[in-house]
């Protein structure tokens, strides 16, 4: 059991994702067909045999989901969902992608940034503050020792909690938009971002 074999398996699953899904479907279908044939050979009518084979097999969707988790794909699926959410949010907030140089109009937020950067600790470190006239994003970095679906879930949860803390620091003119988490490819470095937009 080596890191290399895990990494190889993960990469193959990522790069050949559609093939992996087809293979899983074919493999589970083979099992159901073989089981049905065995039951039919024991003089059980075909329809009843197929029903019983499915019942004995259990929830195929659940097994497939657990199969993806076993290959480390659940974290990637979570990341993709967050990225889609983040991109949709950015698309609705033009200008937010540029790192902010605070304008005169936004001087009042400087003190807020001071408070937000003060939230850095041994776990989180403040990275940047990005804003447009109508939206803002505060970003923290989290360094984890490993990349697993469990760590990913923890980081995802931390992003939501951090979003709550950040939004608590903002004035009532801001509407919280939640937190998103992402991972820098091939590392244990996660970024968590708290989002808000002007009411």
């Amino acid at each position: 059991m080596t890191l290399i074999s895990r990494a190889r398996s993960f990469l193959r699953a990522v790069l050949l994702r559609s093939r992996l899904e087809r293979d899983m479907d074919a493999e589970l279908q083979f099992h159901l067909d073989a089981r049905t044939e065995d039951l039919v050979a024991r003089a059980i009518p075909a329809a009843e045999a197929r029903r019983r084979a499915r019942q004995e097999f259990g929830d195929a969707l659940r097994w497939k989901e657990q199969g993806r988790e076993a290959r480390g794909l659940a974290a990637l699926d979570g990341l993709q969902a967050d990225l889609k959410y983040g991109l949709r949010w950015l698309a609705r907030s033009p200008g937010v992608a540029a790192t902010a140089t605070l304008s005169m109009e936004w001087r009042g937020l400087e003190t807020r940034i001071g408070i937000l950067s003060g939230k850095s600790n041994s776990l989180y470190s403040f990275q940047r503050f990005v804003h447009s006239a109508r939206s803002l994003m505060v970003e923290y970095k989290v360094i984890a020792k490993e990349v697993t679906s469990v760590v990913w879930r923890d980081v995802h949860k931390a992003a939501q909690e951090m979003a709550g803390e950040v939004n608590a620091e903002l004035s009532s003119g801001w509407e919280p938009q939640g937190g998103i988490a992402s991972i820098q490819a091939g590392t244990g470095v996660y970024l968590i971002q708290a989002l808000a937009k002007r009411r």
Binding site: M1, S5, F10
Partner: protein
Amino acid sequence: MAKQADVLQGTLDMLILKAVSLGPLHGYGVLLRIQQISGDRLTIQQGSLYPALYRLEHQGLLSSEWGESENKRKAKYYRLTAAGRRQLQHSTRSWNEIADIIGAILETRPEEI
């Protein structure tokens, strides 16, 4: 037929490694072999085999390739890797040690304390 028992949590991986160590098998074949070896005394929720097989393959303990089944259908066959063989030996030793300890505890009589 003897009374059936559920597979103990955490032991499914070991049973799969053992079944596959006796020769390459597809997923359904793994189920049949475990049932055969146990004399049909173990019940396994059939679909749960697959996440376990994928996990063992991900860990490099099993390898797989598509082949033709006994009924001429395309099937995915699993075989034990060298790392899987070492893991099976380690798991077997640990299981026997634990079984000895638990067995001794359960056999203890009051006068022996």
